[in-house]
Symmetry: C2
Subunit: 277 residues, 2 copies
């Protein structure tokens, strides 16, 4: 068995993923492979690793997503948008619309090729944000709302995103929950505009987070602070959220960074034969 893989690296608003189109599903791709690929110094470097597998549950393709620490992730809004670009460029699906099975359900992606092949726009339905009961936030003076987006979020309001010690605050928030949580610190920046920073479970601070963007928009909307169309300024760029009866829809740019050929045997700590599923 060869251990050479050809992948593509993509990003959406700076939230970056290495993507392997593996319709046959025969590439080694467990937690050790994900960790080795996502290592920013000894590997390719990314927030997450995605395999595009054959469709399940009636979908055109399936997303198999792992965080940089190797842990499986239910869903990623920017990840699925990056997956869309890799799958379209590999000819595995056809634009404009196709379906992707994820651990959080089947999602529809709408893909608009750009004038240049490496820069497209993709939107995805993110399901219905389920808001919990407001609680005291992880820092005195803050309030927080748990949001289930298929993965767990805690949206913290009342703090300046640019001024907080985000890792420390996320540590406090995560310690309260046995399975950890993704933490967004968001502030309203106008009638239809938020800005936020996000600390992702299993990754750390990222330049953008799709599910977190939708969670923050949903909380601000529920409080009447913004309308149904919200631009959310993530550190890595703007993402657009539409909040409708059917749930949230996330849209934004997706870009190809590079084609990457790796020999898994050469990556530190990556022994494909020893990898767990």
């Amino acid at each position: 068995m060869t251990s050479t893989l050809t992948l593509t690296k993509h990003h959406g608003a700076g939230n970056d993923f290495v993507v392997l189109v593996d319709i046959g599903g025969d590439a080694p791709a467990g937690p050790a492979v994900a960790r080795a690929l996502c290592d920013r110094h000894r590997g390719v470097g990314a927030d997450g690793f995605i395999r595009v597998l054959a469709g399940t549950d009636g979908a055109d393709v399936t997303m198999d997503l792992r965080n940089a620490d190797g842990s499986p992730a239910e869903m990623s809004g920017n990840g699925i948008r990056c997956l869309a670009q890799a799958a379209v460029l590999a000819g595995a699906v056809s634009p404009p619309a196709f379906t992707v099975a994820t651990a959080a359900g089947v999602r529809t992606v709408v893909y608009e090729p750009g004038e240049r092949p490496w820069l497209a726009r993709a939107s995805v339905d993110m399901g219905r944000p389920v808001l919990g009961t407001e609680e005291p936030g992880p820092l005195a003076g803050s309030r927080a709302v748990p949001v289930d987006m298929g993965n767990p979020h805690l949206v913290v309001l009342g703090l300046d995103p640019g001024a907080v010690d985000l890792p420390a605050l996320a540590a406090v928030a995560s310690a309260r929950r046995p399975d950890g949580v993704n933490v967004e610190v968001a502030a309203v920046d106008g009638a239809d505009r938020l800005r936020m920073r996000v600390f992702e479970r299993g990754v750390g601070e990222t330049l953008a987070c799709g599910t977190g963007t939708c969670a923050a928009a949903a909380v601000a909307r529920a409080r009447g602070l913004v309308g149904p169309s919200v631009v959310v300024a993530n550190p890595g760029g703007d993402l657009d959220v539409e909040l409708g009866e059917d749930g949230a829809r996330l849209a934004g740019p997706t870009a190809v960074v590079a084609t990457v050929v790796v020999d898994l045997a050469a990556l530190a700590g990556c022994e494909p034969d020893d990898d767990e599923p």
Copy 2:
């Protein structure tokens, strides 16, 4: 002109570089290209970008090195060891020994191919460390010694590398010097062993630094704290330094991470036509 480049990514003790073998010297490779390639989220991601050019000053090849922020760098011990691996694998030079012209002079590299092609060992003469006069360190209770390794270093002793706020400390140290400085916080960990953390000018904290490793070893040696053979534990792994009459020699592993194909036109902020030399 095509804007597609094929590069390789390497690391030495976690200090990572994207390397372009460009003997013809016709690839676009100014500061904007370096910044775009080294961007860890929107680019390939690395501590620095190296071009391997035709030899000058009688050397077999020439190293053209830029930091992640696009600034030119005189010399990098791990960078030149990564260059060696890329140049050998591309057939541009032949092991075991060859010479590399750098902005800090011509250096001899000894390259030992490993049993596996992606993992080798390389050593390089780093020139003679020139120690300055000890001065008060950037934090109360610390002492510091400036060291010229072809590039400027400040070796700080008397602090626990694992406990310091390195970026803050480096900011204080850099503010005292108009051109900035690379800052090492080092501690003696045995008769022939140091451990250190390093904050590189133009990059930030890195997992390892070759010139900094030699600078720290030279300061410890001058104080009689270690012998002429020193293992320096960098956060990304151990590097070996031999301190002799002719100067310092740095040795350690160098690993291939991936082959990377990028379209420069696709990289954010990278307009090759607009790039400055």
